[in-house]
Structures are given as C-alpha cells and as structure tokens.
C-alpha cells in the first residue's frame, strides 16, 4: 500500500462553494431531495452526441435511439408524470461505453440503470416470457449453484440440442450458443480442499521467505478474492491462477462469502435482486477490508460493479470503501508489486515446437471503463515467449446476458463482427480477455481457445 492511498481529492474537486443565504443562487433553486439526484448529470449534457456515436448497439440497430436519449433526455421526459420509460431501454446492453465517451461527465450508465430498473419494476409484465427469461439470465449465479452440484448431468442436459431448442422456443434463449460447461469441481470446493486461508497464509509466507530471506513479516500483504460466479462454477482455473500468482508475490488470499456482483441484474433491470446481492457483498468485503485486505477481482465486470455501480446505485455502509479498495488482479500487482520486473525475468513456451505463443487480446468494455484497456498487452510485451496483439477497440457484442437473448443474438453478432475479423488477422489461434462472456463470444465467433491473462501469468511466474 506504499504507493496508494484513498484520498478525499475526488470529493474536494467537486465541492461547491457556499454563499450567503440571502443571495440568489441558481444551483439552490431545486429543493433538497433524499433520492439520488440525476438532475445535475442531466444538466451537464450539452447534446454533443458523442455518446451516440460510440454506442455499439446504435451502430448496428437502427431502432435503438442511443444513450443520449436513454439517459438525459428520457430523464427529463420522466419529470412529467404521464411519461412512461421507453421500452427501447431494454435494448441497451449496459456496455457502459457512453460513460467513457462523454466529455462532460454525464453519468449515463447510472441513468440507464435507473431507467431500466424503473421500466422493469413498473411497466414490465411479470408473467411475460421476456421477464421470466431475463430473471433467469440475471440470476445465472443462483442457477449455476444448483447446476454445478451435478456438473456432468447439467452439462449433458444443457448441451442437448432438444433442450437448446426448448430454451429458445419457450424462454427465448438462443440455441445458437453452447451453454458454458460447469467445471467438475467449483473454485470454492477446491479452495476448501486445499486448506483455505490457512494454507494460503503458509504459501504466501513461504514465497516471501524464498524471495526476501528472513524478512517474512508482512502482515499487510493480504487480499480478498472476489471470484464472481463464472470462475467459481465454470472456469476455476482462472481462480486458481489468481490464488497462485498472488501467493507467489507473498499475498495471503482470503475468499470471503459472496454472491453475484450484480452485473447481469443491472443489465436486466433487476435492481432488487442486485441490491440483495450487493448488500451481502458489501458486508462481506467491508469485513475483509477491516481485516486488512484489499479486494481483488479477476472478472472486469465484477470489479466494475463493485467500483462504480454499487456507489452509483446503493448506499450500504462500506460501499464507498469497498469501491475504493477494489482492484482488477493485474492492476493490483502492477501498482503494488514489481510485476513488470518479474515478467522481464520470466518466459513461457509456445505450443509444441513454437517459440512463442500469440494471443489475440480483446479489451472488455468494462475493463476499458476502468482504464485497463491497454494493460494486458503492455504487460505481456515484457514476457519472453508471449506475443499479445490488441484486436481493436470494438465491443465484443455479447455484453453478458444480452447476446444470449434470442431477439438480440443477431445484433450481438453484428457488433462482434469487427472483433472476429481482427482476431482472424492475428497470428495464432488463442484469444485472451479478462471478461468471461467476452471470452464466450470470442470462442463462439472464431473457435479459438480463450484464456485469461492470469492464466498466462501463472504459467510464467508460478513454478
């Protein structure tokens, strides 16, 4: 923690100066409200339309009016009681690119999340196929908990083409995609079997002893891993890589109880579900922070959720500190350790006789929003035997549950087309990304094997 701290600078920057009470102040015309106030954000929009030109959905779907309408304009319309939320808000994929595009700091994704939540709560038929389907998709984590108890059976059933057709016809879940397979053993089961935090403490101490000789006193090297649903149920190899890489740098890893980050719930307007999950996560992660840990996530949508969406939408005790103390895994090591130096001294072998391995790297939109778009390629540049090439700044198009919806599948693939093209033009047939659903899309569009940067780090740095 030597190089970072958690300053009050951000709030200072935005502090308004107060004035004498009897002086007219335009900013004080509107009464104080207890509710989250989106008016300043709406007022900050000067209609430059940059967000619209950056929206991947608007680029391929002529019916979608774009983020400027979904955000500030719809917010204004809603000030009149007789205006419903336009149902086009359900076509927003929640990639959050508009946030990054806006030169005026309008909280577009916050506005979209709020509007979508209100649409689902007040205007959507709770018995409709779309609602039921979205509820199921949004609560993937809960289903995965059941399915992963009997992984082989579940995989068999979900891989059955009859079941896939059934899902499509009855639920509107596309049969074009293969349902992601559940791992035989979840990450958490592995973690417990391995000895949990006690084993991790020991391994971290051993790693410190090996590197620093006698200097093993370092109680502050502790991280709490937010693995999310996917690396728990589907790709535990990513979770294991995270644990081993962090232990190698001398970190004791904790794995607090946790629920879904809420990303698929926000994207489907299921704000109540998201709030319940967030409450558990904030409580557990805040407790880990009390124990001296920083929070590390391997999925960039999970870290996005903890960092940005929680503080924008919820107000639990500890929300702000969880947001400030949450990091993506490589980001954390890069800021706190000499990750670049470690990679300079390491190497990996290519497949078979190949001298090096080529990776077609795609930066997930949510990684982009956290300022992490260039990170994986920059780091792997240091690693002998690894050759990572960025496949461009387009969106993969799947956006979590979006591309699983029957009626959104074509849009999703149209958005992804640019990325597929760029992947094909990169040498080698291995993709690389931090986001599990981007990985699904990359595999679906190209047939490449997709890895997580942590897996490459594990191969390079862990004996």
């Amino acid at each position: 923690m030597s190089d970072t701290e958690n300053p009050e600078t951000a709030s200072e920057v935005r502090t308004e100066n107060t004035v004498e009470a009897d002086e007219f102040e335009p900013i004080q015309v509107f009464p104080e409200s207890e509710e989250m106030d989106l008016r300043p954000g709406s007022d900050d929009c000067y209609k430059c339309s940059t967000c619209d030109t950056n929206c991947p959905v608007a680029a391929v779907d002529d019916e979608f009016p774009g983020p400027k309408f979904q955000g500030p304009e719809q917010w204004r319309l809603k000030r009149k009681d007789d205006h419903d939320i336009d149902d086009s808000v359900m076509s927003c994929s929640n990639c959050m690119r508009c946030d990054d595009a806006c030169p005026s700091d309008v909280p577009l994704s916050q506005m979209h999340n709020t509007a979508r939540g209100s649409f689902v709560e007040n205007q959507m038929d709770k018995l409709s196929r779309e609602y039921v389907r979205n509820r199921i998709l949004a609560n993937y984590g809960a289903l995965a908990r059941l399915g992963s108890k009997v992984p082989r059976l579940t995989n068999f059933v979900m891989g059955n083409s009859v079941v896939q057709k059934f899902n499509e016809k009855l639920l509107g879940i596309t049969s074009e995609r293969d349902f992601p397979a559940f791992a035989d053993e979840t990450f958490r089961t592995w973690w417990k079997r391995r000895g949990g935090v006690a084993a991790s403490k020991k391994r971290a101490q051993d790693a410190r002893a090996e590197r620093d000789g006698a200097n093993v006193e370092s109680d502050d090297k502790r991280v709490a891993y937010f693995h999310g649903c996917y690396s728990n149920y589907n790709t535990p190899a990513v979770g294991k890589a995270m644990v081993r890489v962090f232990e190698r740098f001398g970190y004791e890893v904790m794995v607090p109880p946790q629920r879904c980050s809420g990303t698929p719930m926000f994207a489907n307007g299921m704000l109540d579900d998201a709030e319940r999950a967030a409450e558990v996560n904030v409580r557990e992660l805040a407790a880990a922070i009390e124990d001296g840990a920083d929070i590390v996530a391997s999925c960039t949508s999970c870290s996005m959720s903890l960092r940005q969406e929680y503080p924008e939408l919820f107000d639990f005790e500890g929300t702000a500190s969880v947001a400030a103390r949450t990091y993506e895994a490589l980001e954390y090591l890069r800021v706190h350790e000499d990750l670049e130096g470690a990679l300079d001294d390491a190497e990996i072998d290519g497949e078979g006789d190949a001298e090096s391995e080529n990776f077609a790297y795609h930066a997930p939109c949510h990684a982009r929003n956290q300022g992490l778009a260039g990170q994986a390629v920059e780091l792997l540049d240091r690693l002998e035997g690894a050759n990572a090439e960025d496949v461009g700044d387009s969106c993969s198009g799947i956006s979590g549950t979006y591309g699983w919806k029957d009626e959104k599948y074509d849009t999703s693939m149209q958005i992804g087309a640019e990325m597929f093209d760029h992947m094909e033009s990169v040498e080698g047939e291995t993709g690389l990304t931090e986001c599990p659903t981007c990985a699904m899309q990359m595999e679906h569009g190209t047939g490449y094997e997709i890895r997580h940067p942590l897996e490459v780090l594990e191969e390079a740095l862990v004996d």
Partner: protein, 460 residues
C-alpha cells in the same frame, strides 16, 4: 513497483497526442504514455488545423480594460473586436505577436516543425501543406474560415475557388441549413454562385439518425431504397442513391458540398464514387460535434502514436501529483472510484486543455489549474474576467498557465514550478485561440516542442 514511463502526457487531444508522438519519435525505445480521462474530444473538433487566422487585438485594447461597469457599448465594442480581415500568411504575423504568446516561445521554426510532424502523421488525409498561406474554408454557418490545413474532403470546397457550388443539406441533419449557408456565403462575397437545397437522405433512416449512421451506410455502400423519377421504388447502393437524389438539382454547379458525413473509414472512396456519378467535384463542409473530420483526425493521430510505440490509458481523471525530495514531479495521481493510482515518469507534459477542455478550472473565487495547481494569473475581481459584449475582448479567453522558454509553468516568483513538467496546447495562457483562430496550431507547435524537449531530458 508501479506503472512507470519515461514521458507521461496528461491529456489526449491534439496537443497531448502531438507531444506523445514527438517524444516517442525523439527518444528511441523510450516509454511514452498518454493519460486521458475520457475518449478523445476530437469528436468535437472541426478537423480544421488553424495556425493563425486573425491578428490578435492590439495590445493597448487587450490590457487593463473591463471594469464591468456595463456601460461599454457601441463604437468601443467594434474596436475591441477581432479584425475582420483574415491574415493571408500566418507566419508573417508571428513576430508581431505579444511576447507571452505561445508562438513567440517556440518561435516560427517551432510552428513549422509542429506542422511538419502533423503532415507526416496524417498523410493523405490533409491538404494545405503546399503553401504558407491560409486557405479559406466554408463553415456550416456559412462563414469563411482562414486555416492552415484542411481535410482532403474539404479541398474542393475552398472559398477562393470560383467554380459554382451546390450545397446539399438533409432534412434530418438540422445543423446544416444548405440554403441559408449558400446565402451567407454569397453575402460575404465569395467569387462563385452558391445554391442551397434541402433533400431527404435516401433510405428509410430514422428522423434522429446519427451522422455516423449515414457515414456507415456510405462506407459500406449499403443498399437503400429510393423513390425513382417515375414514382417507383428502387434499391440502389447508398452512394449511387445519394448521387441520383442530388442530380436533378445540380444545374450548372461544378462542385457539390455536403455536411461532413461522407464516410467514416473510407471517405476518399465515397467521394470518388459520388464524383463519378455526379460528374462534379464533391466536398464536405466541416460540422460541429459529432464531427466526422474530427474522428478521422483522431484515428490518424492515434494510429501514428501507436505506431511510434505510445501507450494509452483512458478512463479515469488525473487529480494530483507526487514530488520527490528535490521538488521534481514523481507521479501523477489518477482518481479511480475513491482510490488514487500513481503513474510514475521521469518527464511530464500537461496537455489538459483550457477552460472548455477542463484543463483550467474556475469558480467564483478564482481560476486555477487543477492537477498541479500551477499558477493561472487572473484579476482578483471576477467582473474583470469578461466584457459585456459577447464577442468582446474577454480576459478569460487568455487565461492559462504562463511558461518559461522551455514551456515549464511559472510560479508567482517567475521561476519554474517543477523542473520536469511542461505544458502544451490550450492550457497555456497568452492566446485567445477562438478569436485569433490558433487552437490547433498552438497545440501542434507547443505539443511537439514539449514532447521533444521531454524526450531529450530523458535521454540526457
């Protein structure tokens, strides 16, 4: 132990990318990073590269006026305004600029070097490098703007060209009222006849379709439906359909101007196809945001930077800095949801823009540079910051950091604030880029100078 570079440029506009490009090319193998809060704001830029369109107001009128008495109307205001006659050669005017002007600091040679770097980075995308003289480019308001470089797509539209022009607007592209633009151009005395016509863009596009939607359709030459002359509907490639729509209105015009939406990725092909179909030259009129010429410029500069090895980090604002014991800047702090992430470097370039770009901030109490808290000289009474006349000689237009001969920001005692921090672009004070039309030129000249000097320091 941290994110570390040789040169860290804060700001991703023309100045920032130019600084990064110059630094990367100068310091072979060095690590250069552009740090920016948001995606490039070049989407809001016209894409015109001005150097100096108008001479600044005489020094006498620029100093010590504006008591805020609200009485200065009439003749005084006319005198305060920028001269109406554009400069034909911006370089001739540089020696007469005030000492504090950024061009005087980097010199005429510095301005030329900045343009040379730009020409090299943008290649075929731009025109105007064949002469020192300003070109006169019609704007979407129907004015004529003096500028040093212009997109190739605007080349056939120059106001000095005497070929008659047809301007084509579209019903849903309300920022470009073609008949009005044509009338305006004729009223400022251009040497050609201008006609304007408003048409419906062929194809069933929504009434609020984005400019980029039309550009994409033309890029891909999508097939669109169009009602033909005999009243039947036909399906044609978009470029052909657009040309067919315009043909009937061509008259004697030898060139046709459109609002800038003729393709995002393949503008030259789109123009060539339209020209072949129409039998007339085709040009774009630069537009406000979202600006296709600005996006193409962004693409070209980013590509040049990437090719030179520049790295980009975008998404979080820089909010502060760290120094070492000798007073050098050690790191810039980036705020990320309540945490501060340090970006370390040996040399730093501040290219965060001016009052509009948020590189200079103000409130009722004062004016400041928010990241390094560099000094920004300004009158203590805020009623002295502006004139009542909207187009008057506002003091705020020149607010910015003052710098030494190496572009290092100066503190109140006239010494440099930090030995390894340089400033470039609109964050610099001493020039009113909007009135004198010098925004891009100052960014190029000072960006290149700052980037190159920073890289030299790293090397030495």
């Amino acid at each position: 132990m941290a994110i570390e570079d040789d040169v860290l440029v804060v700001g991703g506009g023309i100045a920032g990318m130019t600084a990064a490009l110059a630094a990367a090319r100068e310091g072979a193998g060095g690590r250069v990073r552009v740090l920016s809060h948001k995606d490039s704001t070049l989407k809001s830029a016209s894409g015109l590269i001005d150097v100096l369109g108008y001479a600044p107001r005489p020094a006498a009128s620029a100093a010590g006026r504006g008591a805020g008495d609200g009485q200065s109307h009439g003749a005084d205001d006319a005198e305060n305004r920028a001269p109406e006659t554009p400069l034909s050669n911006p370089f001739d005017a540089i020696p007469d600029l005030p000492d504090s002007h950024p061009y005087r600091i980097v010199g005429e040679a510095g301005v030329r070097e900045g343009l040379a770097l730009f020409d090299d980075a943008t290649g075929d995308l731009y025109r105007g490098g064949h002469t020192d003289r300003n070109a006169l480019v019609p704007t979407h308001g129907g004015r004529v703007k003096p500028t040093a470089r212009y997109p190739a797509s605007a080349a056939a539209g120059l106001a000095s060209d005497d070929r008659d022009a047809l301007l084509v607007g579209f019903e849903t592209v309300t920022d470009f009222d073609a008949p009005l633009v044509a009338d305006h151009l004729e009223s400022v005395g251009v040497p050609f006849d201008a006609e304007g016509v408003t048409l419906r863009f062929p194809g069933g596009f929504r009434a609020d379709a984005k400019l980029t939607r039309f550009a994409d359709a033309l890029d891909a030459n999508e097939r669109v439906e169009r009602v033909g002359g005999a009243g039947y509907t036909e399906t044609l490639p978009a470029r052909e359909a657009l040309a067919e729509t315009v043909k009937d209105h061509l008259g004697d015009a030898e060139r046709v101007g459109f609002p800038a939406l003729l393709g995002q990725h393949a503008p030259a092909e789109v123009r060539a196809d339209l020209e072949a179909e129409l039998g007339a030259a085709v040009f774009e009129v630069p537009m406000g945001p979202p600006s296709l010429p600005g996006m193409r410029l962004e693409g070209a500069l980013v590509a040049a930077c990437r090719e030179a090895g520049v790295r980009f980090t975008t998404g979080n604002p820089a909010v502060g800095y760290e120094t070492d014991s000798s007073g050098r800047v050690r790191a810039v702090r980036v705020e990320r949801n309540g945490a501060a992430i340090p970006f370390h470097a040996d040399q730093f370039v501040l290219a965060t823009g001016g009052l509009v770009g948020k590189g200079i901030d103000s409130d009722r109490e004062g004016v400041r540079e928010p990241i390094f808290d560099c000094r920004v000289a300004h009158p203590s009474d805020r009623y002295d910051w502006f004139e009542d006349d909207a187009f008057g000689d506002h003091a705020f237009a020149r607010f910015g950091v003052e710098v030494d001969g190496e572009l290092r920001p100066l503190d109140a005692r006239g010494g440099s604030e930090f030995p390894n921090l340089r400033a470039a672009g609109a964050v610099l004070g001493g020039h009113d880029f909007a009135a004198e039309k010098s925004g891009a030129g100052v960014s190029l000249a000072t960006g290149r100078f700052a980037g190159r000097t920073a890289a030299k320091e790293v090397r030495d």
